[in-house]
């Protein structure tokens, strides 16, 4: 091995490192900048509503049963026609997800009979205290569509006697 074989890699290495200066830094300044996410990324949970503003969640706690990390706590309450939260008899009075326990497996999404809980590609759960990492129903529930009243609603008797409304036709374009 001659002197040339020793020096060439060193010189090439120095040049390579110097060339890096002209490159744009790959750093993402996190709190201000975000990395672009896939549209199908499964981030934190959202509780969905029907188009008429009623909550999809019926408080059945199947998500809690399916959760391998035991992160979900659901307590059901009774719907009445004077104060209706969701179609059918019951709604989720309490709905809490401990984001420190959640492993984001999406089993809750699969278990849900009404497609009420959905993992969506926005917001990462972050916080300074353990208490703040328990997401309550108010934090998870999405706001109703524009010009639609929030829950509880006063509804005509007999209109919502089934817990699961017929699903809207599947949109093939999505």
């Amino acid at each position: 091995m001659g002197l040339k074989d020793v020096l060439t890699p060193i010189v090439v290495g120095f040049a390579t490192v110097l060339k890096t200066v002209t490159r744009r830094p790959v750093t993402i300044q996190y709190p201000e900048q975000h990395k672009p996410m896939s549209a199908r990324f499964r981030g934190r949970h959202h509780l969905k509503r029907y188009d008429d503003g009623l909550e999809r969640c019926i408080g059945c706690a199947l998500c809690a049963a399916a959760c391998p990390a035991d992160a979900i706590y659901v307590e059901a309450g009774e719907n009445t026609d004077e104060a209706r939260y969701s179609p059918g008899e019951r709604y989720a009075k309490t709905y809490e997800i401990n984001m420190l326990r959640c492993i984001f497996c999406g089993y809750c999404e699969d278990a849900c009979p009404t497609n009420a809980i959905v993992l969506e590609p926005i917001e990462f759960p972050t916080g300074y205290t353990r208490e703040s990492m328990i997401y309550t129903k108010e934090m998870l529930l999405e706001s109703p569509p524009i010009n639609v009243p929030a829950t509880p609603q006063r509804t005509p008797p007999g209109k919502y006697d089934r817990a699961i409304l017929p699903f809207p036709p599947i949109d093939e374009s999505q």
Partner: protein
């Protein structure tokens, strides 16, 4: 008495400049290293991260200072001081600018010898820190430091001998003067390229910086001799290391880059300080660039490189230089 007062004032200013320089050298290193690795580097504390050294310093002051059980206490406390003080007093003989106003003791006739001696003392701090910590990693780091520094001091000393031969004086002020035959080619880096290369390599080994940072090789020795140090004692080691970086860069500038020389220094003496600073910063950038490029050497190769390559080459360089001077070859009288 005025002499004493003058020396004191100069020392205070020098120490102030060096300690500020140390603080901002850490920031510069982190910033430059980041850019060399396609990162951004610290930019949160203050505008452009300029308050980062302050934040680091405050953090270190408020850290708990731990003395390990079984540590040899007097030596354990003395070691950081032994690292910082040589690094600071190294600057006494370096001519920072033109004229006595910018020089502390650079006219003493054993300047080069003083440099080699003081650099040698600094290794005691590291070795004793490793010894006194009562920790295996620290002891290994200290052992490596002493072996490494002794091996590379030879090459460094011999490269300085070549410079002293060229200037026919061991005073650093004279060495700078000897490099000023009117043009840039008078610099010893052009007249003594081998000595310059050996000095650069051995200096990095003396500083225990990458690729010679076996003394504190994180992967093998956690932090080497610094493992058991925390708080301000750790900060002192850090300070010693970085001040020594500045000092060695200043030495390289003095020995090989013409020191404070440059155009128009006769008309505007303050320009000489600017030129000197530019040269020192260039050397520092080179060191950071090296750290970003080269991986750490294996320990046995480090030793064999020092003994089997650098020392003989440096010795041969001294002999050749002596012959060239004796024969009166142009550029070597």
């Amino acid at each position: 008495m005025p002499v004493l007062l003058e020396a004191t004032l100069k020392s205070v200013v020098l120490i102030f400049v060096l300690l500020t320089g140390f603080a901002y050298l850490t920031l510069m290193e982190r910033k430059v290293l980041a850019r060399l690795q396609a990162r951004i580097g610290p930019n949160r504390a203050g505008p452009l991260g300029l308050l980062q050294p302050l934040a680091d310093g405050l953090k270190l002051i408020f850290k708990e200072s731990i003395t390990p059980a079984g540590a040899d206490k007097p030596i354990y406390f003395l070691a950081p001081v032994l690292v910082v003080v040589p690094a600071l007093i190294l600057f006494a003989v370096i001519p920072v600018g033109k004229g006595p106003a910018f020089q502390l003791a650079s006219e003493i006739n054993v300047g080069a010898l003083y440099v080699v001696g003081v650099m040698g003392v600094a290794v005691y701090g590291i070795t004793l820190a490793g010894w006194a910590s009562n920790n295996k990693y620290a002891a290994l780091g200290g052992l490596r430091a002493s072996a490494q520094v002794i091996s590379y001091e030879l090459g460094m000393g011999l490269s300085i001998v070549a410079v002293v031969l060229m200037a026919s004086s061991a005073s650093l002020a004279d060495i700078v003067e000897a490099q000023m035959p009117g043009n840039i080619l008078g610099w010893f880096i052009f007249r003594q390229p081998v000595a310059a290369a050996i000095f650069a390599i051995t200096a990095m080994a003396e500083l225990a910086r990458a690729p010679f940072d076996l003394v504190e090789a994180e992967q093998e020795l956690t932090a080497g001799f610094m493992t058991e140090y925390s708080g301000m004692k750790f900060a002192l080691f850090f300070m010693g290391e970085y001040v020594k970086m500045i000092a060695v860069s200043a030495l390289f500038a003095t020995f090989f880059l013409g020191g404070w020389s440059g155009p128009f220094v006769d008309q505007v003496p303050i320009l000489s300080v600017v030129y000197f600073t530019i040269k020192v910063v260039a050397c520092l950038l080179l060191m950071i660039w090296t750290r970003a490029t080269l991986p750490r050497m294996r320990y046995d190769r480090l030793m064999s490189f020092g003994w089997k390559v650098l020392t003989p080459v440096a010795l041969a360089n001294v002999i050749v230089t002596a012959f060239l001077i004796a024969l009166g070859v142009p550029g070597y009288q």
